[in-house]
Symmetry: C2
Subunit: 295 residues, 2 copies
């Protein structure tokens, strides 16, 4: 595994791996897993999927300052490079790209990639400018790595929708591969931010996955349930945990993230339905979601 | 020469030309000339330069609706595909990409690439949103064509500055090659919009290039001349043409397009100095400019 710390090292590493791959496979393809590091089994599942689908796997570790708001946890965001490198190596990564903020933004960027529409609700509403930072850095990384496929976790379902919209609109020649959420044995969705949780907060945070698991039973019991009714049920269920401070709970179309008809039974909609939520436990904001595939 | 009218045809054409080139050269490089068609000798100079520097030349012809304002000349913009194809062939172009607006924008784009700063003055001030449309379509075309070098005429010097800023900020792996302005024998800068001019307007429009040619003599006569003084001289000179209706005349740093110190003699500045102007003759808006290389 090669650790590349500059653009030139990345370019050389990709060239070297491509030449090695040409001897093995007809058409070496590059799979890309962009991350902010502090890797967990959720990231590992992306690396494994990338290795399954592509001859060369590039992982990036970059805590991107421009996607953090002024009162967010940029400075506190957890970092552990040695652990990350070991985990990347174990999961078959060929190249790890570890740029510094100075390398990615030698001057403050004057150019932003902005996606309208899908960035407006959910985390886009709670975190103004967040997705502009995400799309801008992902565009930069796509231009540096030039992947054939890029792997994103469905834990941030809105991010998947936003990146897919950008790729379509800007004709990036990259296939976006969404990968399923990975959970702890007790249901908590894996997140680098879970380490912030106290034991009590962590226990109560299980209400999120528990509630999302209940959705299908509710819909079976009440086949006429609409999106607003389901949303009310979810809110009530989460509020049973005293430490839960709801940022948002939404039931929307996926991937457009447009509203569903408030009168129509969810059982009758033609859309894929996303149930997305963000809830604070103490100072830690967790997100989780569930995608209902109609038929 | 291949005329590609869909993304798939473009991809196949690039693949085909690359394979042919591999037999001839070690490292075939792709030179790209993005245009809005109605080609003239200015475009021809870009194609020739691309052919000189690159194994494969791709020309695009696309009148990009999103860079036109609501009251601009999108509908009237001149088109002549047969002439353009002949001219491309004569100048060594390998692939002409001729997408329709429906192909480039199957749905209204939700994603825009926006550059701040360099887009604010000059044509950015006169044509709000213009450069957002330019950077967005150029990002799309770069992602489709994947050129190694892209060739732009210095006639739109601000466009060159904006594209260079975008390429740097988003890490596009494309070298921007600015090419000199091409002029008629009498000095008029070539432009597809020149055909709009009446005989009288065309005659009076020569004041632009004549004025720009005078700049060096003025600076020699008055070595202490500042940017505002030069600007005043230029405005007075242009106003001698009764049909000239000045949109802007600016003397700025290039490529940052920031203001020059108003007190400092231009002879003493460390910056490259751009003199840029936009002037209407009748309903036709012409741009022209001159870059002073200090030392």
């Amino acid at each position: 595994m090669i650790a590349a710390r500059t653009m030139a090292e990345l370019r050389d590493a990709v060239r070297q791996c491509t030449q090695q791959e040409i001897h093995r496979a007809e058409c070496p393809s590059i799979g890309f897993v962009p991350t902010m590091g502090f890797l967990h089994e959720g990231h590992a599942s992306l690396m494994k999927e990338a290795k399954k689908q592509c001859g060369i796997v590039v992982l990036s570790i970059f805590v991107n300052p421009i996607q953090f708001g002024p009162n967010e946890d940029l400075e506190q965001y957890p970092r552990d490079e040695a652990h990350d490198l070991a985990m990347a190596e174990q999961n078959g990564v060929d190249i790890v790209f570890l740029p510094t903020a100075e390398l990615m933004y030698p001057e403050p960027t004057k150019t932003m990639v902005q996606v309208q529409g899908v960035t407006a609700p959910l985390c886009g509403a709670s975190r103004p400018g967040h997705f502009d930072g995400v799309t801008t850095v992902v565009a930069k990384l796509f231009n540096l790595v030039k992947p054939d496929k890029a792997f994103f976790g469905m834990k941030d379902a809105q991010q998947v929708a936003v990146i897919q919209q950008m790729v379509k609109d800007l004709n990036f020649d990259v296939e976006i591969v969404p990968c399923p959420i990975v959970r702890e044995g007790d249901g908590l969705a894996l997140s680098s931010r879970n380490i912030y949780l106290s034991a009590e907060e962590r226990e109560q945070a299980l209400v999120l996955s528990r509630t999302l698991r209940q959705v299908e039973a509710w819909l079976e019991q009440r086949p006429d349930m609409t999106a607003p009714q389901l949303r009310d049920n979810i809110i009530k269920s989460i509020q049973e945990a005293p430490l839960a401070d709801i940022d948002y709970v939404e039931v929307m179309q996926f991937p457009s993230l447009e509203a569903l008809s408030p009168e129509q039974a969810l059982a009758n909609t033609d859309h894929r339905v996303l149930i997305a939520l963000a809830v604070r436990f103490g100072r830690t904001r967790l997100i989780d979601n569930r995608l209902l595939e109609n038929k």
